[in-house]
C-alpha cells in the first residue's frame, strides 16, 4: 500500500515532528509513482504533486500519526476534496421533462447506463422515457429496446434510418405530450476527434435542450482520459460524469484526471452489468482505491 511504501521511504529519514522539505520530496516521489500506476494523467499528477508539496512542507506531524501516515492523510484529503465538491445529484428541470444525454467513447457503457438510470428514476416513482438515438451501431436500437423490455419501461425509437437530431426532437415532443418526467437519450459512441459526429452531438443537445449532458467513462481508461474529457467538455459543456466498470480491479485514476480537467462532478458509478448496478459516487472511496 502507499502507506507502507511511504513508511519505507521515511525509514531513511529522521522526521522530527515537522515534515521537512527533504521528507516531503522523498514522499512525493512515492505518491507520484502510485498515481501514475493508477492511470492518473501525467500532467494532472504533476499539478497534484505540486499542491501536496505546498501543503506538506512545514506541516506538523500529528501525535497519533507517523510521518508517512501524515503524508497519506494530506494526500487523501487533497484528492477527496478535488474529486468531491458540489453534491453530485442530477438536475431536475423546472418544467418536465428533464432531458439527460449520455455521451462518450465507443464501448464505455452508455446504453447499459441509460437503462440503469431509467430504472433508478422508476424506483423513485418517476416516469422516464428512454430514447434510442444510436442509429449507427448494429443492433444498438434493439439493445436498448431489449433493456427497456426487461425493465418494462418505454423506449422511444424511430428506427435506424432517421437522423439522431430528429429522433431526439421527436422524443422530447412525445415526452412533453405524455407527461414523462425524464428523457434519457442514449447516443452512439464516438471519437472526440471526429468533428462531424461531435457536431451532431452538439446539435442533438441544442435541439433537446438537455439539462444534463453526462460523459460516460470506462474506469480502466488510461492517459487518454484527459484528451477525451476536455474535448467533450469544450464542445458540449458537460454537466457531469459517470464512471463505469468499477466492479473490476482497475485503480480508476481516470476519475481524478477527468475531474481535474473538466471540473465536472462524477455523479454515479457503474458497478456491474446488471441494471441495479448503479451507485452514487463517493470521493473518499475513490481516493482510497486510486491510492491503492
Amino acid at each position: 500500500s502507499l502507506t507502507e511504501k511511504l513508511q519505507q521511504a521515511f525509514k531513511k529519514l529522521r522526521g522530527k515532528g515537522i515534515l521537512s522539505e527533504k521528507d516531503v520530496s522523498e514522499a512525493v516521489r512515492e505518491v507520484r509513482l502510485a498515481l501514475l500506476e493508477a492511470d492518473v494523467n501525467y500532467k494532472v499528477v504533476k499539478e497534484f504533486i505540486g499542491k501536496i508539496r505546498e501543503r506538506a512542507v512545514g506541516q506538523e506531524v500529528m501525535k497519533s500519526l507517523t510521518p508517512a501516515q501524515q503524508v497519506v492523510k494530506i494526500v487523501s484529503e487533497e484528492m477527496t476534496e478535488l474529486m468531491g465538491g458540489a453534491k453530485s445529484s442530477l438536475v431536475v428541470a423546472d418544467k418536465p421533462p428533464t432531458v439527460i444525454m449520455l455521451v462518450g467513447l465507443q464501448g464505455a457503457g452508455k446504453t447499459t447506463t441509460a437503462a440503469k438510470l431509467a430504472r433508478y428514476f422508476r424506483n423513485l416513482g418517476r416516469r422516464p422515457l428512454l430514447v434510442a438515438a444510436d442509429v449507427y451501431r448494429p443492433a444498438a436500437v434493439q439493445q436498448l429496446q431489449s433493456l427497456g423490455e426487461k425493465l418494462k419501461l418505454p423506449v422511444f425509437s424511430m428506427g435506424e434510418k432517421v437522423e439522431p437530431v430528429n429522433i431526439v426532437q421527436g422524443a422530447v415532443k412525445r415526452a412533453q405530450k405524455e407527461g414523462y418526467d425524464q428523457v434519457i437519450v442514449d447516443t452512439a459512441g464516438r471519437l472526440h476527434i471526429n468533428e462531424q459526429l461531435m457536431e451532431e452531438l452538439k446539435r442533438m443537445k441544442e435541439t433537446a435542450e438537455a439539462h444534463e449532458t453526462l460523459l460516460v467513462v470506462d474506469a480502466m481508461t488510461g492517459q487518454d482520459a484527459v484528451k477525451v474529457a476536455e474535448a467533450f467538455h469544450e464542445k458540449l459543456g458537460l454537466t457531469g460524469v459517470i464512471l463505469t466498470k468499477l466492479d473490476g480491479d482497475t485503480r480508476g485514476g481516470a476519475a481524478l484526471s477527468v475531474k481535474a480537467v473538466t471540473g465536472c462532478p462524477i455523479k454515479f458509478i457503474g458497478m456491474g452489468e446488471k441494471l441495479e448496478a448503479l451507485e452514487p459516487f463517493y470521493p473518499e472511496r475513490m481516493t482510497s482505491r486510486i491510492l491503492g
Binding site: E37, P138, A139, Q142, H192, M220, G222, Q223, D247
Partner: protein
C-alpha cells in the same frame, strides 16, 4: 522533442513523459530508459535523434518477435476464440476478421457465444451478413459452451475453413466468468484436434495499466495466442501492449482502426512505434 539539443536529464524527462503519456506505464518506461541510458553511454551517443532511434529499436524488438500471422494452415476447421473485457470491440473485430478471411478466399462461420448481453446475438448476426459468413446461434440465456460446440460441429460437417467464437465481455476478476471461458476452450479442444488454434485477446487502446491484469488473468484462463489492439484510430497510443507483451509473450496480430468492416490491419511494429512518438 528536445529543445536543448543535448542528451541531458531534461531530455530523459521528456522521453519519460512521452512514454508514460502513451500508457507505456511507469515500470516499463523505467526499464526502457535504463537500457537506453546504458546503451547511450556504451556507444558514446551524442545526438538526441540517435537516442530516439535506440529507444524505438528497443521497443520494436520487444514487440516484433513472433509472427503476427494467423494460424490458418492445417486441417480445417481452424477454430478461433475471441475474448476480452466488456466493450473492447470483440464482436466488431470478429465481423472485420470474418471479412478479412473471406477476402482471402476462406469460408467462415461465426458462433454467437455471447448469450448474455442484450442484443449481442443480433449484433453478431448483422456482422455475419455484412461479412458473408455463416452463423450458429442459440437463444439469449443459452449455454455459451453449447453454442461453441454446436458451431464447431457445424463447421466440421459443412467443411468450413474458419470458425470464430464470440464470447460475452467479462472483467478478468470475475472467477465464475473466467471459468466459463476456460470451459469453452476445453469444449472445443475435445471437438477439434489442436483447437482453439487462435485465442485472441482484444485490448482497447484507451486502456491504462489494467491491461496487464487483463492479460495475466485471461492468460491463466485460456491459452492466449495473440492480441488485437482496437480503437487505435482515437488519440490513445496503446502503449500498454509493451508491458502486456512482457506478461504474455504473444504478438499483437491486428489493430482496429475504425468501426467499419474494413478497419482491420495486420500489426506492423515499426508503424506502431513511429506513432507512439508521433
Amino acid at each position: 522533442i528536445n529543445r536543448s539539443g543535448k542528451i541531458d536529464e531534461e531530455f530523459y524527462e521528456e522521453l519519460e513523459e512521452i512514454l508514460i503519456s502513451a500508457d507505456v506505464g511507469v515500470k516499463t518506461t523505467t526499464e526502457l530508459l535504463e537500457n537506453v541510458r546504458e546503451e547511450v553511454l556504451k556507444k558514446r551517443v551524442k545526438e538526441p535523434a540517435k537516442v530516439l532511434d535506440i529507444i524505438k529499436k528497443n521497443i520494436q524488438e520487444i514487440l516484433g518477435e513472433g509472427t503476427s500471422a494467423l494460424n490458418l494452415e492445417g486441417v480445417p476447421p481452424r477454430v478461433f476464440l475471441v475474448v476480452g473485457v466488456n466493450g473492447v470491440g470483440k464482436t466488431t473485430t470478429i465481423g472485420k476478421l470474418a471479412y478479412f478471411l473471406k477476402q482471402k478466399g476462406k469460408t467462415v462461420l461465426l458462433a454467437a457465444g455471447d448469450t448474455f448481453r442484450a442484443a449481442a446475438i443480433e449484433q453478431l448476426e448483422e456482422w455475419s451478413r455484412r461479412a458473408g459468413a455463416q452463423i450458429i446461434k442459440h437463444q439469449e440465456g443459452a449455454d455459451a459452451a453449447a453454442v461453441a460446440f454446436d458451431a464447431v460441429r457445424a463447421a466440421k460437417s459443412r467443411m468450413i475453413d474458419v470458425v470464430i467464437i464470440d464470447t460475452a465481455g467479462r472483467l478478468q476478476t470475475k472467477k465464475n466468468l473466467m471459468a466459463e471461458v476456460s470451459k469453452i476452450q476445453r469444449v472445443v479442444e475435445k471437438e477439434v484436434q489442436g483447437a482453439p488454434h487462435e485465442v485472441l485477446l482484444i485490448l482497447d487502446a484507451t486502456t491504462g495499466q489494467n491491461a496487464v491484469s487483463q492479460a495475466r488473468l485471461f492468460g491463466e484462463a485460456v491459452n492466449v495466442t495473440g492480441l488485437v489492439l482496437s480503437k487505435l484510430d482515437g488519440t490513445a497510443k496503446g502503449g500498454i501492449v509493451i508491458a502486456v507483451r512482457g506478461e504474455l509473450n504473444v504478438p499483437v496480430k491486428f489493430i482496429g482502426i475504425g468501426e467499419q468492416i474494413g478497419d482491420l490491419r495486420v500489426f506492423n511494429s515499426e508503424e506502431f512505434v513511429k506513432a507512439l512518438f508521433g
